[in-house]
Structures are given as C-alpha cells and as structure tokens.
C-alpha cells in the first residue's frame, strides 16, 4: 500500500551528503535558492527551476499513471501547488524531495478519486525511441523497450513508484523513503523487487532476440 504524506516540506530529512547526479542538479544556483527567489517575486528563477525538473517529473507521472491525459493533469496540478505554496516554502529539504512528494501525493489522491488501478495505458513507447543504426540492434532495443514497458506497467504501484523515483528523480533510498512515507529498508526492498522483475523481462527479451536471430 502506498503511504500518503502531507504536502508540507518542513519534515526533516536525512539526505545523503554525496549525491552524484542530484548534486549536479543542485549546483549554482541551488533549487532551494531558486525557489526562495521565486517566493520573493523572481519569476525567472522559477522558470530556471521548472526547466530543470519538468521533463523528469512529467515522465515520472506518465509512467506512474500510465495515461497521458491524467499525467498531464497531475503534472499541471503539481506545479500549481508548488506555485501556490511558495510563501510557505522552507528549504529544510532538497527541492526535489519536496517536488516529488507533492507529485506522489497528487498521484495517491488521484488513485483515491478515480479508483483506476486497472486502467489501461495509452503510452506508445515507440514514439520516443531513439534511432538505431543497426537493424538487429534496433530490433533488440525495441523488443527490450516493449518488454520493459509491459513489465513496468505490470509492477505494483509501490514498486513502480520507487523505481521511477530512482530513475527519474535520481533519488537515494533515503529520499525515496521520505517521499513515499516508508522506511529505508522498505524502499530498498521495493526497488529490488522492481528491478529484478524488469531485469527478468529484459533478459527474456534478449533471449527471444537471440533465439530469433
């Protein structure tokens, strides 16, 4: 079951000190500093912040909801809440933790409202596929993407949520635990289960590709 956390960003978080990709995103100027500047009326700071996180958040919601229109609605809802709550924003945690906690809660709220756990996805993974030079490689990649997409879709919501937070938001286990409202071991367990299932799906795709070759 996915836990629901309040939207407040004042919760003290034990963030790691050496975050590779996230640290790169937080440098000069930091997300929190940009948010504070926006709170003080600097719209350009918000645009910088938005451009930094919008695509990852969009993909996170898209994979999580498995429905494009719903993902866009939630995406707009999340940023609307960020904008409205700028006066109450306190940089007690990383901005990404704050942002994805809002997104996570919006998704949980959406689930409660629509009861659409079993809704079908309308995402076409091939629309955004990169070009492949080799036909065999391209066939293998496409098969792997389809298998991964199907396996990701079949993951339980909790495992998919953890996996997407790890991949899209580049969060540590502690941050994932903070966003999802579970302890670190639970988050780690969920991530392990998700990765194993996806790895099996990709392995099967690779085996199928080898066999067909």
């Amino acid at each position: 079951m996915i836990a629901v956390k309040p939207l407040s960003s004042s919760t003290a978080l034990s963030c790691p000190t050496t975050v590779t990709y996230a640290a790169a995103m937080e440098t000069a100027p930091e997300d929190s500093a940009l948010m504070l500047r926006y709170r003080d009326g600097d719209a350009d700071a918000f645009e910088t912040l938005y451009r930094r996180h919008n695509d990852a958040l969009y993909r996170y919601l898209l994979r999580l909801c498995r429905h494009r229109d719903t993902a866009e609605d939630l995406f707009q809802d999340v940023w609307g809440k960020i904008i409205k709550s700028r006066d109450r924003y306190r940089p007690t945690a990383k901005f990404t933790t704050f942002l994805y906690r809002v997104a996570h809660n919006c998704f949980i709220d959406h689930l409660r409202k629509t009861k659409r756990h079993g809704s079908t996805a309308d995402i076409d993974p091939d629309t955004q596929a990169s070009a492949a030079t080799d036909a065999a490689d391209e066939a293998e990649r496409q098969l792997a993407r389809r298998r991964l997409e199907a396996a990701l879709r079949d993951l339980p919501d909790e495992q998919r949520d953890v996996f997407l937070l790890f991949e899209e938001a580049d969060m540590s286990l502690d941050e994932i635990a903070a966003v999802t409202g579970v302890n670190r071991e639970t988050a780690k367990s969920r991530l392990r289960y998700a990765v194993n299932k996806l790895k099996v799906a990709i392995g099967a795709a690779i085996a199928d590709s080898v066999e067909s070759t």
Binding site: P16, T17, T18, V19, T20, Y21, A22, Y38, R39, D40, G41, D42, A43, F46, E47, Y50, N54, D55, L57, Y58, R59, L62, R63, E72, F75, Q76, W79, G80, I83, K84, R86, D87, P125, Q128, A129, S130, R141, A144, R145, L148, E149, L152, F166, E167, E168, D170, M171, S172, L173, D174, R184, K188, L191, R192, V195, L198, K199, I202
Partner: protein, 263 residues
C-alpha cells in the same frame, strides 16, 4: 550487472541494463503547451502575494507596539503633578467619612486653608477689627459703622455669594451679616482642616453671626427700595428710628437723586 549509483545506498539493487533500457524508453518531454501554461501562471503569481517587505511586517508590528507603550509611559511620566492634584481636590472635598481621606488630600486641604487664611490676614487686616466691632455693637457697647457693601464685594476671601451673605430668620426679620466673609472663610477653613462632614462647625459659626445680627438691625436699604427716592427716604427714616446709622444711605441718596428732599 548491478551498479552503485546514488551514494552507494542502492548497491545490489539497481541494474545498468534496466536503467539503460529505461533511459532509451523514457524519452518523453513535457508538452510545450503545458510548459507555457504553467510558466505563465507562475509569472502571473510572482508579483502577487509574498514580497520582500512582508518579511518585515512582524518586526515592524513589534516595534510599533513597543514604541506606543513607551510613548504612553513617557506621557504619563511628564504630566505635571500639580495638574493631577488639582484634579484630585474636588474628590477630596467630596463628603466621606472622617479619617478616611488620604494623607495627601489632607495635606493639600490644610495647605489651601492656610494660604487663604494668610491672604485673608494680609489683604484685609481691618476686617477682623470690624468683626469685633460688630460683636461689641451687638452687646450695646458701641455702634461702629458697617463696612460699605462695595468694599465687601471686593473681599478676596469671598467664595460664594450665598455663603457670603447669609440671612438668618430671627423674629420674622431678615438681617444682613456684615462679617459674613470672615465667618464663611473660617467655616470653610474649619471644614478643610477637620475634613468633610464638619458642616456642623460651619453652621454653628453662621448661627452665631445670625444671633449677633439679630440685635443689629440692617443699616442698608435694598436695591428695590433705592429705585425710588420716596421709598429710599422711608428706609432711611426707618433705620434712624431703629437707632441705626443712616448717614451712608443719605450720602448715596444724594448721589443718586440729588434733587430729592432729604429728611
């Protein structure tokens, strides 16, 4: 292959192949229309709501409150004490039980009484002798002339007209008290010294004046009588018939009606 990404906390959990395929899969970008809508909304709200000066609202409110309190304290501290005591005098003169008046009110009352007493002595020293003369006149030893009415009007110790001119009813006649200002001031001083509720002292003093005035017929004529020479002459004759001195009234009659025939 399992990798250690994100500070090593996720070791033995993630898989490079899975991440690579996912990165290849997840190339979606947020729609431009959505980006534009959100950024427009953010810009519209950037100017409203919180601004830099709002952070100073709470400190400013505290400073204003403290300043107001200080101003009130300073204003109360700089208020002259005399003004406050002057406001307290009427309250001190209000009738209360003897011995209840505060110490400061007693001191103030005694000070006022002594001041008025000194002024009385300095400005009208002869008034006492006249009062003594009135007493002597009442006993029949002498008949001093009553002080002119105008002089008594200028007497500084007088406070109220009704108290300055007490008229006692004795034997059906009204008598004008000549030394009323002195007695009135004496009664007032007694009231001040001994506190409120001492009206009995005042009444006794006035009663003694009335008793003395009872045997001392009025030697002045009323203003109504003075309005006509005939009635005025009749009044003068009446004074003289009672054994009083009507010279002053004669002089006044001459001044007012020089053509009147003096008796």
């Amino acid at each position: 292959m399992t990798t250690e990404r994100n500070t090593g906390q996720a070791e033995d959990v993630t898989d490079d192949r899975v991440s690579e395929v996912y990165r290849d899969l997840a190339g979606e970008r947020a729609p431009a229309s959505l980006n534009e809508r959100i950024l427009r909304d953010a810009r519209a709200r950037a100017g409203s709501g919180y601004s830099w000066w709002m952070g100073w609202l709470r400190p400013a409110a505290w400073v204003a409150t403290v300043g107001l309190c200080l101003a009130i304290v300073i204003e109360l501290t700089n208020t002259p004490v005399a003004d406050i005591e002057q406001d307290d005098v009427p309250a001190a003169r209000a009738p209360v039980a003897p011995g209840v008046a505060s110490e400061r009110s007693d001191e103030q009352l005694i000070r006022d009484a002594e001041t008025s007493h000194d002024e009385l002595r300095q400005q009208q020293p002869a008034l006492k002798s006249e009062a003594d003369g009135v007493a002597v006149n009442a006993s029949g030893l002498a008949t001093p002339a009553a002080p002119p009415r105008d002089e008594r009007a200028e007497f500084p110790g007088r406070t109220t007209a009704s108290a300055a001119e007490p008229k006692a009813s004795a034997n059906g006649n009204f008598f004008e008290v000549n030394d009323a200002p002195i007695l009135e001031d004496a009664a007032e001083m007694a009231e001040m010294r001994e506190g409120p509720g001492q009206d009995r002292v005042r009444q006794n003093a006035l009663r003694s004046v009335a008793e003395r005035a009872d045997v001392n017929p009025a030697e002045e004529c009323d203003d109504d009588v003075r309005s006509a020479p005939e009635s005025w002459i009749e009044c003068i004759l009446d004074i003289e018939r009672r054994g009083g001195n009507a010279d002053d009234e004669r002089n006044r009659l001459q001044d007012a009606f020089p053509d009147a025939e003096l008796p």
